[in-house]
Each structure stands twice: as C-alpha cells, then as structure tokens.
C-alpha cells in the first residue's frame, strides 16, 4: 500500500515466424511492460523492422486522420456502435478509400463554390462602383487610338490632368473618394498613369467582353451570386450529412488502425536475430506465474518464458544490472479510495520504484485540511453534493476534485457541527450581538434554547465568557496553536517517510546516520520552540517565566537538536545548519489553516451583518429591504463558497506538495504501462478476434 508493487523481470523468446501470434498474446496478457531494446545491447541481436501490414495500416491511418480533420469531427465524440469484427471487415473491403473519395469530392466541390462566390463578390463590388458612371460597359474598350482608365481615386483628378487632352467622368462615392473613368489618347496614357499614381488611384478591371449597362450586369451578377450561395448551402449540408454518416466509422477506424500500427511496430522495440526474437519485460511479481502460463498456453507452447529476478528495493540490488534494467517501472498499489489521489500525486511526479507512494497520505490529509479550513455546516453541504456528482465523473481530473470536495465536505461538516458550531458564518447558539448573529436568535428562540444540542459541541472559555463552538475570530490564538500542532504532526510524518525511504534504499544503519539526524533535529526544534514560545508569550522577564514546566522541554530540545545537528552535518555537510530555521518556517506555514478559516469567517460576519441589517431594519425595514437583503445574503455566501474552493483547496494542496512531499518525495519513476489494447470507440461481441494477418 505504501510502496509501489513489487516487479519481476522476465525474458520471452520465440521464433520470428510466430511474431504476430506472439504480439497478440503479449497484448492479451495485459501485464507485460516492455523494456525497449537498444542498439548493440546484446551481441547478435538488432532492432527489427515493422511488420508488412503495418505500413498499409499507417497509410490508411493517415487518410483517416486527415478525413477526420477535414470533416471537423471531434476525437472526443462518443460513438459505440461499431463492433471490432465490423470495422475490420469494412477496412478490408476498402471502405477507407471509398470514403476518402466521396468526402474529398464533396469538399472539393465546396471549395470551388467558395472560390466562385469570392469572385462574384468582387465583381459585384466593382459593378456597384461602375454603375455610378454614365458609361456603358462595352464603351470602355475596343478603341484604336484611345485608352480608358477606370478606378477609384482619393482626390478629384481634374486639376492634376490639366494640360492633357482627356475626357473625365467622375462620380463621388464618399467624402473625397470618387470613381473615375478617364479616356485619353494612347500616347498620353503613361503621363496620366503617373499623375494618377499620386492620387491614390486603384484600377478597376473591366472585361472587354462586358456589354450593356453596369446596373444590368450588376443585377445579373447578384442573381448568379444568390444561385451559387444556394449551391454552397446545399454542398455544406451534404458535407454535414457525410460527417454524420461517417463519424462512427472514421473514429472506429482511427482507433483500430492505431492499434494495428502499434502492434506492427513491436519488432522495433524488441531484440531480433535472424530467426528469433527476444523480449525483455517487467511484470508484477504476483502475476509472474499467471503470465508465464498464459503466454505458453496461448502461443501453443511456441514461446519460451524465463523468470530472471524479482527486484528488491535496495539501491545495491540495482547496481549490478545493465542500465536499461536498473529502474523498474512503478505500478502504484492503491485501494479504491486512495487511487483517486494518484492524479494529484502525478501532478508532481511519478514515485520511484523504491520510494513511498504518498497517495494515501494525500488521501487522508488533503480532505482533512480542506474541511478544517472551511469548517462550516452551511458550506459543507453544497460541497458534499457537488463532490458526490464528481465522484463518478468520466474524467479523472473531475473524479479527483470530486473526491476532495466530497470527503473535504464531510470533514467540513463535522468540524462545522462539532468544533466550530457554525453554519454560514453564524453560531448555532450562544451570546447574540450585532456582529455575532446566532441561529437561535434568527429563529426567535431564547438564548441557550439549543442548550441540549450544544452539549455535544466543543465549548471554550474566552475572556471569562463561555463560547459554545469555537469562534474563528475570537479564539484566534487557540486556533493558531492548534494549526501549529497539526503542522508538527504532519511534518513529523514527512520526516518519518524520509527516514523510511532511506531505510528501504540502504538499510537501517544508513537511514539512522543519513536521515535520522533530521528526525532528531525536528523533534529537538519543536521542543525547543515550544518552551521558548510559551515562556516568551507568558509576558514578563524571560528569567522568571522560564519555569520548571518549560525547562524540561527546553533541555530535551537542545539535546535532540545537538544530536540532530551532529548527524546532519556529518551526512549533509555544514550547509544543513542553514535549513534548521526553515523547519520553523515550515511549521509556521501551517498557521494558514487557521488564517484561511479566519478570513472566511471574517467575510461571512461582514456579509451577514450587512444583509441582516437590511432585512431587519435597512430600507425602512419593508418587504423590498427584506428581498434585497436576502439577495445580498445569497450572493455573498455564494462568493465565499467559491473562494473556499480556491483558497482552501489550493492551500490544502500546497501543504501536501510543499511541506509534506518536498521532505521525502523524489519522484522521477517510470509509470508501469503494460501492452494492452484500449478500445473506446469499438467493442467486441465476443473475445477480440483480431489477427492482423487477415486484416490487409
């Protein structure tokens, strides 16, 4: 539970003639983690080449993927109406190729139409300008001695063309822009062009075939445009239809072909000689016999399986072997509860084979801290409901978040009910004042009416006044102290894990000498700070407050600190002294547990004060005041609720990542990834009968 599963190394050998069968069997076992063969690792063996069927499959996969992209199909679309046999039959009959043909034709047609529409649009724009001029289209061309220049200009060209024999037709478009048609002698063309170039002239091409009035041509172009647009719409609808028709086929084909390609490339990952292949693999120790039996049985005795070793956790166990076998893959071994916290763990890193898997610690402390910080029945219930929805969510992110919210919500409920005695920032029972509203008061009950109920609540005395439930803004020193104690326990666990990791890797003696110092130093630091802090805060001269009561922890603390220091300096060098103040920092970091509870209580108090003053007395105390007050109450508490997810959730996570895990967690392990077929879009009616040889 605390360590990843024990792994064993096996070697599997067979003849090359059976490689396809062997691949199938390896995938069926779903327990074989392949160790990639490296060039020149073993004499006489080299990396193989992909199977013949795999190149055809890759080619098809490429086609299928481009079709999926062209049709805009999301890979996340859920389809589940293709059986494996079905899809294989369709692949064999060349459905990919025919689908490609249909889809590409439709898409080409659409693209042509789109281009045509673009052309018609620009023609329409030009004609719209030309129709402002009193010149028919055929009059722009067909002369021997004169040339026409048509276009738009930024300023009136009459002035600029003074002295050149030209006929100018001009029509204003807006402000200074105008459309202009200039007829000049052929020999003047260059000088006119030059003069126009300074006037922001943009030519409008007029086709020599065009005849008639521009307005008539415009009407014709518009009609054509509408017709083409209708065609485009039809074509889009056709493509949409194709998308609908082929989505499940394409997605299923994509999945099946990916699997085929992956299987076809297995020879690239294993050692091949001329006639045989050898597979190095890791399997979980508890499955070794089962795997061996399955492999021999399913391959009809044509594969030879040999057990090599079960890897121990000590570093010495891994030192002798080849580097590619040095680090076994990590298969986390968690129950259904802590399994969901692996996601949070993997945000940091995958644990190494030989180190403690902190998922279970995350599973305990993440919701606990969350609940402690929220600590309010009113927010806990929505958290529990929200979390319950997330518990069985599809994506593992939501499952992980849902779990924290659900169990965090339960803790928050327990803390809120029994420890803080609070709901929506208001105590159930106790002394009423404007800034500390109680539910008793809200429901018009007498003070102490919930007395019987309050007997199960935590009771505290502060300033000579009895409080039922902890006031987050009243009992601040007590909450701070409590947070620090929680921190001490949490950090102590962290240092124990650090010690244990070293114990696993190098044995007790080394653990004591190398990491034991930190444990001693931590305990010493805690005792030392405890004594100092309490005698300092007692007020007065340190000489008088440092009574016998605090003397013992002080002496114990100093002794432990000295032992710890000697050990750590011996193992980690003189610089480790610098890290001791960091321990105090780490412990104080846990005061955020109280601080975030305080901040939420502070906000809730202010919002309650505002909204209840509105409900009871604000705005004349009428109905409107009541309604507005109630809305303010709801909105403000919703705000606190969402802030709670952010602050309590993130800070709880931070305490695990930074304070707890950074003490002992190294990470950097390889995740155990056995060969197996994962089918999401296709399903098999009976056992998957996928023999790649029949596929192509």
């Amino acid at each position: 539970m605390f360590l990843p599963e024990s792994m064993s190394r096996i070697v599997i050998a067979g003849t090359k003639a059976n490689i396809d069968k062997a691949t199938e069997v390896l995938y069926d076992t779903e327990a074989v983690h392949l160790v990639d063969h490296t060039v020149n690792a073993d004499e006489g063996y080299s990396i193989g080449s992909p199977r013949e069927y795999s190149s055809k499959a890759s080619e098809r996969l490429l086609k299928v993927r481009s079709l999926i992209k062209e049709l805009g199909i999301s890979l996340k679309t859920e389809v589940k109406d293709m059986t494996v046999d079905d899809i294989k039959a369709r692949l064999d009959s060349g459905d990919v190729e025919s689908t490609e043909k249909t889809v590409v034709t439709a898409i080409d047609k659409r693209n042509d139409l789109k281009q045509k529409i673009d052309e018609l649009n620009s023609l329409k724009n030009e004609l719209e300008l030309l129709q402002l001029l009193p010149v028919d289209l055929e009059l722009y061309s067909g002369y021997e001695t004169i040339t026409s220049l048509v276009g738009t200009v930024g300023t009136d060209p009459t002035e600029a063309l003074k002295g050149i024999d030209a006929e100018i037709f001009l029509a204003k478009i807006k402000k200074s822009d105008s459309v202009v048609a200039i007829f000049v002698k052929n020999e003047d063309r260059d000088s006119v062009s030059y003069a126009l170039s300074g006037l922001n002239f943009k030519e409008i091409p007029v086709s020599s075939d065009a005849v008639g009035k521009p307005s008539e041509a415009l009407a014709e172009a518009e009609a054509k445009l509408a017709e083409t647009e209708a065609l485009l719409e039809k074509s889009e609808a056709e493509i949409e239809g194709l998308k609908e028709k082929y989505t499940s086929f394409l997605l299923a084909a994509e999945e099946d072909l990916s699997i085929t390609v992956e299987k076809g490339e297995i020879p690239l990952r294993i050692a091949n000689s001329e006639y045989s292949f050898v597979v190095d693999a890791w399997v979980p120790t508890k499955n070794v016999d089962e795997v061996r039996e399955k492999l021999t049985e399913k391959s009809d005795g044509k594969m030879y399986v040999e057990f090599l070793e079960t890897r121990g956790r000590r570093i010495a166990d891994s030192e002798e072997v080849e580097s590619r076998f040095r680090e076994p893959p990590t298969k986390l071994d968690n129950g259904p509860y802590s399994k969901e916290f692996e996601y949070a763990l993997k945000l940091v890193n995958v644990p190494k084979y030989r180190e403690i898997d902190p998922s279970i610690l995350l599973g305990i402390f993440l919701p606990l801290f969350f609940g402690f910080m929220v600590g309010d029945v009113g927010y806990a219930i929505p958290f529990i409901i929200l979390g319950a929805y997330g518990l069985n969510a599809r994506s593992k992110e939501w499952r992980a978040i849902g779990r924290v919210l659900f169990f965090g919500g339960i803790w928050a409920f327990l803390f809120g009910l029994l420890f803080y005695g609070e709901c929506l920032g208001m105590h159930f029972t106790g002394h009423y004042s404007e800034t500390s509203i109680t539910w008793e008061h809200l429901f018009g009950m007498e003070e102490g009416a919930l007395g019987a109920f309050s007997s199960i609540l935590y009771t505290a005395v502060h300033d000579g006044e009895t409080h039922v439930g902890i006031g987050k803004l009243v009992e601040v020193p007590m909450l701070l102290k409590l947070s620090v104690y929680i921190g001490v326990v949490h950090l102590f666990i962290a240092f124990c894990c650090k010690f244990f990791n070293e114990y696993i890797a190098n044995g007790f003696k080394s653990a004591f000498l190398e990491k034991g110092g930190w444990l001693f130093a931590f305990v010493g630091m805690v005792a030392f700070c405890y004594a100092l802090a309490f005698s300092l805060f007692a007020g007065g001269d340190i000489g008088t407050t440092l009574t016998e009561e605090y003397m013992t922890p002080l002496i114990v603390g100093v002794v432990f600190l000295v032992i710890g220091l000697v050990l750590t300096i011996r193992s980690d060098g003189i610089m480790s002294v610098m890290e001791l103040p960091g321990m105090v920092g780490n412990i104080l970091s846990y005061t955020r547990l109280a601080a975030i509870g305080m901040s939420k209580a502070g906000m809730a108090m202010a919002f309650n004060y505002i909204s209840f003053s509105m409900i009871f007395m604000g705005l004349g105390g009428g109905i409107i005041g009541g309604i507005v007050g109630f809305i303010v109450f709801l909105v403000c508490h919703l705000l606190i609720f969402f802030l709670a997810i952010l602050s309590a959730g993130l800070h709880s996570l931070r305490l695990q990542f930074v304070e707890l895990m950074s003490k002992f967690f190294e990470g950097g392990g390889k995740e155990y990834a056995p060969l197996k077929v994962v089918r999401e879009k296709t399903f098999s009616q009976n056992a998957v009968k996928n023999n790649p040889e029949t596929e192509v």
């Binding site: 993997k346 945000l347 940091v348 890193n349 601040v476 020193p477 701070l480 805060f537 007020g539 920092g585 104080l588 970091s589 005061t591 955020r592 601080a595 993130l650 800070h651 996570l653 931070r654 990542f657 930074v658 950074s662």
Partner: protein, 75 residues
C-alpha cells in the same frame, strides 16, 4: 466611536504594516514565478504540479506577517 489608547493604536498600525508589507513581498515574488510558471505550463502541461509548488512558495511570507500581527494584537 470606541476610545483606544495611543499604544493600542500603534499596535494596530504595526499589525497592519506586518500583514501589508509581507503581502506586498509575496506578491512581488510570486509575480515573476507565476509568469515563468505559466510560460512553462503552456509548453508542457505536465509541469503544472511543479509550477504550482514554486508559485506558492513565497506565500509563506505573508503567513509569517499574519502570525506577527496576531501575536502583536492578541498576546
């Protein structure tokens, strides 16, 4: 209006300064780390966890400020 002595007022100001300045300090530190972390995460989303750890490291400073403020007021 609640009457408070000059001493109490000074304590309150001191507590405010403790929280305010430490908050500023962590803000300044987190600004750069946050920008770098977001940059790294856009390149490779698996760096989220590490990014978050580095991002929240300076937050402890403001917690120290808060502790000092609480001690100043309450003790």
């Amino acid at each position: 209006m609640v009457e408070i002595s000059t001493g109490e007022g000074l304590i309150a100001i001191g507590a405010g300064i403790a929280v305010g300045l430490t908050g500023l300090g962590s803000g300044l530190a987190e600004k750069d780390i946050g920008a770098a972390a977001i940059g790294a995460i856009t390149e490779d989303t698996s760096l989220f966890g590490m990014g978050m750890i580095y991002m929240v490291l300076p937050e402890t400073i403001v917690i120290f400020g808060l502790v000092i403020a609480v001690i100043a007021i309450m003790v």
